[in-house]
Symmetry: D3
Subunit: 229 residues, 6 copies
């Protein structure tokens, strides 16, 4: 089983980090082909950067999808995911959508914590486009963007932890998503101080991509997906 892991920003270090985490989560028997965006911003922190990242993700799909059983678009916000699905013969999993679906398996409402203030309205709109605004308790952003958090996670832990706790206590979220490739792996450090379950978006996206690759194989031996296009 082979999964195309697309990091649509241009930071090779982020790609390497999330590929390592994906391999640890998926375990044996799953191969990841990890690619980095060919152009655009080193981290997505504006609508303009997300527009360019969607284009870079499409290019990555075109060049690297052959031979893969599923695609994981690993940018929280899923830039261009509907266009990738339109063009792809195999399932495409967006990291944000996968996290939100996992959160919805818990009763009630969920919150999102991520880095970079511009993501607040962008993520509220994305949740609305999924039809799930009624289940969104809150989006809370910390000032540091994901790339800065990736470079120096310790500097952001206090603020991230406080935001997660505020989601559970003030906003009454039943589950919290720690969103963003740059924040991958931090959830397990924050969870101990939090009463609500905390979902790492990179782990949730990986689980969903593995399940999608399996579904793709089980349903059809690969024939259906192709013929359905």
């Amino acid at each position: 089983m082979r999964i195309l892991l697309i990091n649509p920003n241009t930071s090779v270090s982020v790609t390497e980090k999330i590929a390592a985490l994906a391999r640890a989560v998926a375990g044996d028997g799953v191969e990841f082909h990890a690619v980095t965006g060919g152009f655009g911003a080193p981290y997505i922190a504006s609508r303009a950067a997300a527009v360019v990242a969607a284009h870079a993700a499409l290019d990555a799909l075109t060049q690297h999808a052959a031979g893969c059983d599923a695609v994981h678009l690993a940018c929280f916000g899923d830039p261009g995911v509907l266009a990738l699905r339109e063009q792809s013969a195999v399932p495409v999993v967006g990291m944000a959508e996968a996290s939100i679906q996992e959160a919805c398996r818990h009763a009630g409402r969920f919150s999102i914590v991520t880095g970079g203030a511009a993501w607040g309205p962008m993520l509220r709109e994305y949740v609305a486009s999924l039809g799930l605004s009624g289940r969104l308790a809150s989006v809370r952003t910390v000032a540091a963007t994901g790339d800065r958090i990736a470079r120096d996670p310790d500097a952001a832990m206090a603020e991230l932890t406080a935001a997660c706790i505020a989601c559970a206590s003030d906003d009454r979220a039943d589950a919290v998503i720690l969103g963003g490739a740059g924040l991958a792996g931090l959830a397990s450090r924050i969870q101990p101080g939090l009463s609500a379950p905390l979902i790492c978006s990179m782990e949730a996206g990986t689980r969903a991509a593995v399940a999608a690759a399996r579904a793709s194989g089980l349903d059809s031996g690969g024939d259906r997906a192709a013929s359905a296009r």
Copy 2:
């Protein structure tokens, strides 16, 4: 890894059939503890039967959840799923919700085909409670209820196939769910004649339950879920 598979109606034959399918889908390394509803109707085909099934599912959880890593409530319509989640220390997957989430991974809108006219409004209301009415293309029901289809699938194939095709062509669904424990395993027979992907609700629920059991283990070694209650 051990999954509690709850069939909340009282038909042991349905329990045996879906347990076999679950084992085939999940493969090695996943154990299923399959239980049948202790009271209620042999098949759920009314609001009243669904109310009783929710109670029976709760009873099954109380008696059998110990030692399981996840719960799969295998009745399309997920009777009592929020109450089970409230009472459970491990994730609870509803067969309908899991199928709908899998369908939403495809762009656009989905339809549901199932047996028994009473399910039409009940499923529309359930989709609305998930916040996803905007993505529902249609619910189409055939006259035969799921238990009758389970006993004599060949008699229902023509009508089920026609309903699936109508979802894709008339209702313009981008994906179709074949819902119900009694219809488990029929999707692969109907798919060849259908342009849109067809999701077997029992397979989708099983995949989601396996993923949830894995998520449960990965996040916490089992400690978090317990402490979060």
Copy 3:
């Protein structure tokens, strides 16, 4: 005219209290057949208890509906009300729905005050299922559950009054519902200190049940309801 009054929890004392209030509100010419849940919790304060109460209410309907002109399901939250309507030849009034409809006759938005924290999300979801989320100003719960309030109302009056006032002032509700069989009769004590009208859910449910019994008789002499099933 005869109304079946169902208390779906197992507290006979609550049944007696609400039956007395129903008779006082309805006046002469209306007979009440009051029944208590045959199994389940002494008071409904969780999703699990509500699931069991729905089953108990269905059982009560099956055993006691003969000869009645309407049914009043007197648990704020209306567990199983749609299933009861499905099975009943005469109108079924839910206490919560009746209170909310009465509140909606006032311009603008309404709030709900009840006992037991678990009811917060459950009631928000119920209002949403009625299509009325846009008119809900807030749900405020006090810590004491309804059975405790019923046993010692004086101990809860200060907190209930403060919650009602907060609904009107902070949440800008145009009407407030004091919800729950256990809180029946307290509204008249709280109203004097409140600028917005305060609706007692038991009184509102009784009025609606009487009106429904009348509608049932007026429309048809009893024939239509039967033939419409």
Copy 4:
């Protein structure tokens, strides 16, 4: 108990007819003060006529509300009802809202049948303003406006009956409302041929007005409503 019955169009014959029906529905012990709009159209069949009728209804309230326990605004569409509530010390019942609430007591969805094509979009918007679009199966209008139907009901019976049947069969409504003062009393003639319950808007409005007058008296002895303004 005294109810102000406002017919906001200028047809005295309609006022007399609905007053007679109200007295028959309410029975002894309820007095009706029936008034006719002082200016405007003989029947409301456009947005412009509804705007003028709202003004006429407000004038009627100002002149005639003293000494009444409730107000029944007897034009299906409830022109100006929120403004009347704002100005009134006693509850104001709109005929359409009361009918819709009665329909919602039945599970599922309702349809409306009335006279005059202009009412189609106006009533859809009104249902939306009540938050209940999700429960509206359809609005079907016949060509004849209500005043013409009131003058010669036999000429309209075939078309009205066909519209009601289409609501139940084609639009799958669980209940149908026959709306409009001019159509008052026709429901009992159409019901026998219809599988779904048919609600006469004038009867439903009268029942709700009587219940509101009772609620008004029970809650407060008249003091609360006044002090709440």
Copy 5:
């Protein structure tokens, strides 16, 4: 090009003021025929006054529309605007709708600041009727009604400015509308202290009316609009 400017309250001084502003905004080549409501309140600050104003606006349309290319209903809240459109052969612009559309051209959400507490719920309902509740950040009202602000703007500037700032900072509005004929012209004084763009409703309505008059002429030479009725 000639625009009918309707002030539906009875204050001639307000009419004169907004006509002067309209002429300044529109520049040469646009003639305004400004009319004052023939009956009703000197300023609209209640639902009842809005109902009467809608009637007065209709009367003004009937008497003065001949020879005009568009109509501007210059009361923030647009009383009766749908009825005016129903009756008018040329486009009808409502001041509130035009302002809201201009605000929506900015990304994200908008707030409204106006005078008179009664407008809060009325404007929330109006925004909902336009389908735009999801984009409304807040409505904030100051105590002084529009006519008092028009007579002594300096007395209200501090409170208006604080409300606008609170919309941008606390409610996170991306644009703010200063609504009301009585507040026309004040936006330019408040804008310098505000980070978000501030829209004067009278200017926005005038721009939209001019554009509508142009559209009316371009589409059809006047023939289409007439034939489309």
Copy 6:
């Protein structure tokens, strides 16, 4: 006054055609700087092409916005419009949003007719993102995409006219939008056979861009927009 007119596809012939129409609509005193997408598809007829066009539009803004008073993004579907607004110091008008707002000035509901089947779901989603799904009567697409229609309009006239008529008669739209740069100018030929007003998206977008450029100048002399970023 100078408007940047962005055609985000790569067809220079389309750019020239819409620039000519924009100049005819705007008349004297408005200068247009028309630019063509630097990369991507010759016409946008898929989600993937729309993603690339959004990037091309952003690039065009970056290179050409200096000295302009407003931006008109002239692709029906407005690819990237929120990102352009984020980056632009002057107002950005999307052709589709402007057309929809103009349609909403008519009472009731609107339909859209355009070329290319892929636009159906894309436009439904875009209308939803504007909060206006409740006012959308239908989207109807003809098989020919916009570039083919632009090259040979006569071949498409019958199908386009039939679609417009079906929107008004079958879907009961109160206004119809003829959407797409490639269809610019055809509305006036179709209007004579249509009872509902037909809006040319290119004309509506041009009118809105001119109004926005005026608003930009009137509010601030250019200072506000800059300082608000």
